[in-house]
């Protein structure tokens, strides 16, 4: 295929430079100490999403094919689940596979970052639907939640309209990595009382303005931004202060390590859906070196986070998703790269509502197509929500309108549900 040195959509570019640079920037992370977790309401269900941006290779992760035509140089290693093998690039994860399950037969029928990501997030191939994170926030977030419902820790600022027709307060709030958000401190000159009265006046003004009509989604989004801001201000302490040396040793001092520490803090402190993005899997060139490097960072860090959730008892009420917008081609190109591949790839799931230690679906010997239990973003979307106890075959009710939560033409992967 002739391609102009890679697709240049913003969510498409492999940025080794950007990745290394972001890792080199030391920042201040504010993270709570272990122990807080003990007080967590175990009934509150949560979601941890780890998004491997760019499209992680299934062959170098969940579905290795050593010794086959396209298998690449890496071996498969046994895991804590008898008979289950994953790539040797994930040695720590391998020891914890009894907590996770793998879906190996995903076929999205698209090779586009944009379309693949939306399908994986919305459970629909097209149209304007809320992301799974926004849906989960809507149905899981308590009214008095101390934090915004859907938080995304990422080092890049892609703007996603994640809530679609749902209320803007379920939209994703992006945090620029682990750095303390700007402007969290109220002006010194304003008394608390005065600030409260001003805010009350503002609410009255905005209610009146909303009452006169106009595009509701605009006004909702605007008002929700202040609600979220208030929550962040009230929980400023979560972002300040340095994580303990012990935590940094375990998670790693790179930005993904710090971002995962922040994710833990957010989950422990009332976050409902927390997404962490690990960038840099779009390996059109040097696929093997990049995966060695990237998954090396992912593996240990993710496992520390998984251990912490497990040990604090939170894992059983937290759905864990490790996913991408697609996988990578079995065929290795002339630059030792693998290209976009939505046709036969894998993700891993665990925690709340998921049967652990399972493998669902399979690909053929060379990994060129799904050979068993083919599923797509629609099936996965139902599965995530059902695992959380949300009936995805029901409807969102919006005024007089009803919109099916999941795609009615798809169903959950029943054998994965605990």
């Amino acid at each position: 295929m002739q391609r102009d040195h890679g697709c240049h959509r913003i969510d498409h570019s492999l940025s080794r430079r950007g990745f290394l640079a972001s890792g080199a920037v030391a920042g201040v992370a504010g993270l709570c100490t272990p122990g807080v977790a003990k007080e967590i309401d175990k009934k509150q269900k949560r979601v941890l999403q780890v998004f491997l941006q760019g499209g992680v290779s299934q062959l170098e992760s969940w579905d290795p094919k050593p010794g086959t035509l396209y298998g690449g140089p890496f071996r498969a290693i046994p895991t804590s689940v008898p008979g289950m093998h994953i790539s040797e690039l994930l040695p720590h994860t391998a020891q914890r596979m009894h907590l996770l399950s793998i879906v190996r037969g995903i076929n999205l029928k698209t090779n586009s970052h944009h379309d693949g990501r939306l399908f994986m997030e919305m459970g629909r191939r097209a149209g304007e639907f809320p992301y799974m994170g926004s849906v989960a926030a809507k149905y899981l977030m308590p009214n008095d939640a101390p934090l915004p419902g859907y938080l995304h820790v990422t080092t890049r600022g892609l703007t996603d309209d994640t809530h679609a027709f749902l209320d803007a307060r379920y939209g994703q709030l992006k945090l620029a990595g682990h750095k303390v958000p700007d402007n969290l401190l109220p002006p010194k000159t304003v008394s608390n009382d005065s600030a409260l009265r001003s805010r009350a006046l503002l609410k009255r003004l905005n209610t009146r303005f909303a009452g006169r009509g106009g595009q509701k989604s605009f006004i909702d989004s605007y008002n929700a931004s202040f609600e979220m801001a208030e929550k962040l201000m009230a929980r400023r302490a979560l972002f300040e202060g340095e994580p303990s040396g012990q935590d940094l040793d375990r998670y790693g001092r790179h930005s993904f390590g710090r971002n995962c520490l922040l994710a833990r803090t957010l989950l422990e402190n009332g976050g409902t859906v927390v997404k962490v993005t690990h960038h840099g899997y779009d390996t059109h060139a040097e696929n093997f070196n990049f995966h060695l490097e990237q998954l090396g960072e992912f593996d240990k860090t993710f496992c520390m986070l998984l251990d912490d959730l497990h040990e604090s008892g939170m894992l059983e009420s937290t759905l864990v998703m490790i996913y991408s917008e697609f996988g990578r081609t079995p065929k290795i190109n002339v630059r030792y790269g693998r290209d976009h591949w939505g046709s036969a790839w894998s993700i891993a799931l665990g925690g709340q509502g998921i049967t652990p230690g399972a493998i669902v679906g399979a690909t053929n010997t060379d990994g060129t197509e799904v050979s068993d239990r083919e599923v797509d973003g629609g099936h996965l979307f139902h599965t995530y929500l059902q695992a959380l106890g949300i009936d995805s075959t029901e409807y969102h009710t919006l005024g007089g309108r009803k919109v099916p939560i999941g795609d009615p033409a798809r169903e959950p992967i029943g054998e994965l549900l605990a």
Partner: protein
């Protein structure tokens, strides 16, 4: 202050007379036909249509749309107190705005958003590019000329180098440029037709993408070995071929715009150079394919060019494009009002792509001047049929200027800028007077000092008159540029022109706690807080704050609300600051309504 208003009025009146004559000459104005087509597109339109907006709504709306800021408290009062018929004073106000230097400022911002899509400055300093756009807007340079200038520019001549920002700050990346030329000038996003015919859009073909690419693929980014400056070189060879990743069909194309004819290289130009490309020399071919791009894009035959700009300017005024998204025009995603779009495109073309005339026509329509309050039960249908004034989120630049206007930052900056220019002018005059006649040197300096407040003085024409409104506004721009940039950083969602809106928590935090914003509220002798602090009556405070921030009179209940708010406060100044803050943060201020 007086002097300035006077100057603007003089300039405005001249242009008004001229513009009137032009409009009167037209048989059926575009304004009229727009309304007809909009109203004919929906059965029982009148049932769903909102009434005419109030004068206050109109004043704020059109000032933001044509000059990127809200009117001053003074102008607001003046307009609202003017008892002449609404249509007359509205029309005059439109003429005045179009003739003012601030119109060029607004267009500079809009064109920058459309063309650069919030890209950061890398190879070309942003200031030069902004000046180029400002000047083009001030001259009302036609869109086709502007497009052509930008698309043929190589960046090798210092005088016109800024124009190359379109190419150079995209690093002359062929994929990005091919896509952006399609999106920005033709309204078509062909990216997914790069590797195969578009999977979803039947009408976007791989050959369309590669036809555009063929204009550009011989060009490359040249770095001068000495100055390290980048510019665009071009080779005199190279063909574009493509293979579908789906069915292995292959194609080869010369430059072409969509389905128009291929533009073949003239015979005997293959590998012929004016300057042969080398490490030290920028390649200049005898025949440049890239130069053809500007001509081909803006050509008579290429209808996509006129429809695209008509749709983009319509969207900027009306809150939504006739085609949405603005860069996704194709048969399966037709315009909501196809006939109207054709009309707008043709009229713009027939008026030599005169954007000022075009915008003037749009804002005179009933469609533009409808209230943003929907008729009960008709909100949804009215939104999609332009039967109600749509809310438009303020662009970051509009937001910055409106906030600075409301808080008094703008007028303070203007006073300082005027003083500086007057001083400069006085100095220069003194210099030039010194040469022929040394003893007059002192006089101009004296008059400039007294001219600020006194209108009774019989002194010779004050130095202020030599300062053009354009020069003054440029000086104000320079002084406030940093603030505008801060707003752009904070409020721009990435990417190009669009009509959607999404607010974020960091933005809210910037407004609630940010030092810049809060600093503007601290009482001073020149700002709104200072002005309000001097008023005793709560009703005066309510009036002044509503006029200055929301450009309208407060209702009786709003007056009572302000009075109550002030009465309950311990610290009056603090209460005034927080009152202003609440009004500035209100949705009514955040949107153009």
């Amino acid at each position: 202050m007086r002097t300035r208003v006077f100057q603007i009025l003089v300039v405005a009146t001249l242009v008004v007379t001229h513009a009137r004559a032009m409009i009167a000459a037209e048989p059926a104005s575009l304004t009229h036909r727009v309304d007809e087509l909009i109203e004919a597109a929906l059965p029982e339109f009148s049932q769903h249509a909102s009434t005419d907006c109030t004068d206050a709504e109109f004043l704020r709306r059109v000032s933001l749309d044509l000059t990127a800021t809200i009117p001053s408290a003074h102008d607001t009062r003046h307009f609202l107190d003017d008892s002449r018929p609404s249509q007359l004073k509205r029309s005059e106000w439109i003429d005045q705005l179009l003739a003012s230097p601030a119109y060029a400022r607004r267009m500079q911002y809009l064109l920058d958003w459309i063309l650069m899509e919030r890209r950061t400055s890398e190879n070309i300093a942003s200031a030069g590019w902004q000046t180029y756009l400002r000047q083009a807007a001030a001259e009302n340079r036609p869109w086709d000329q502007l497009a052509n200038e930008i698309l043929v520019e190589t960046g090798s001549e210092p005088k016109t180098r800024s124009r190359a920002r379109f190419y150079l700050d995209r690093d002359f990346d062929l994929t990005v440029l091919t896509r952006d030329v399609g999106r920005i000038f033709l309204g078509k996003d062909l990216e997914c037709a790069q590797c195969h015919d578009h999977p979803v859009v039947d009408a976007y073909l791989q050959r369309h993408y590669h036809g555009l690419k063929a204009f550009l693929n011989r060009s490359y980014l040249f770095t001068d070995p000495k100055s390290k400056k980048k510019s665009i070189g071009e080779k005199a060879e190279g063909v574009v071929t493509f293979t579908s990743v789906f069915d292995d069909t292959t194609g080869k194309t010369a430059p072409r715009i969509l389905d128009l004819a291929e533009i073949l290289d003239p015979k005997g130009t293959d590998k012929q150079y004016v300057t042969k490309p080398s490490k030290s020399a920028r390649g200049i071919p005898k025949y440049s394919r890239r130069e053809q791009l500007g001509l081909a894009v803006t050509s008579e035959q290429n209808r996509a060019f006129r429809l695209n700009i008509a749709n983009r300017l319509w969207a900027a005024m009306m809150g939504r494009g006739l085609v949405e998204p603005l860069d996704f025009s194709h048969p399966d995603n037709p315009a909501s009002h196809p006939q109207l779009l054709e009309l707008l495109g043709d009229q713009l073309h027939d008026h030599a792509y005169d954007m000022k005339w075009f915008l003037g026509q749009l804002v005179r329509t009933r469609t533009y001047q409808r209230s943003s309050r929907p008729v009960d039960g008709s909100a949804d249908i009215a939104n999609t049929h332009f039967a109600v004034g749509l809310l438009k989120p303020l662009s970051p630049e509009q937001y910055a200027w409106a906030t600075m206007q409301a808080t008094g930052v703008l007028s303070a900056a203007r006073t300082i800028a005027r003083k500086q220019l007057e001083d400069q002018a006085a100095k220069q005059k003194a210099k030039s007077n010194k040469k022929p006649d040394g003893n007059k040197a002192k006089e101009p300096a004296k008059t400039s000092e007294s001219s600020a407040n006194s209108s009774t003085s019989a002194a010779p024409p004050p130095a202020a008159l030599t300062i053009s409104p354009q020069a003054l506004e440029m000086a104000v721009d320079k002084a406030l540029q940093g603030h505008v940039t801060t707003f752009v950083t904070q409020f721009a969602s990435g990417g190009g022109q669009r009509t959607t809106f999404s607010a974020t928590a960091p933005q809210a935090l910037f407004l609630v706690n940010g030092e810049l914003f809060r600093g503007w509220l601290k009482p001073s002798s020149t700002n709104l807080t200072g002005r309000l602090s001097k008023l005793n009556q709560p009703s005066d405070i309510a009036e002044e704050s509503y006029i200055g921030i929301l450009n309208r009179q407060p209702s009786v209940s709003e007056q009572a609300e302000v009075a109550e708010y002030l009465a309950a406060a311990e610290d009056r100044t603090e209460a005034i600051v927080e009152l202003i803050s609440a009004l500035l943060l209100s949705a009514e201020f955040r949107f153009n309504h």
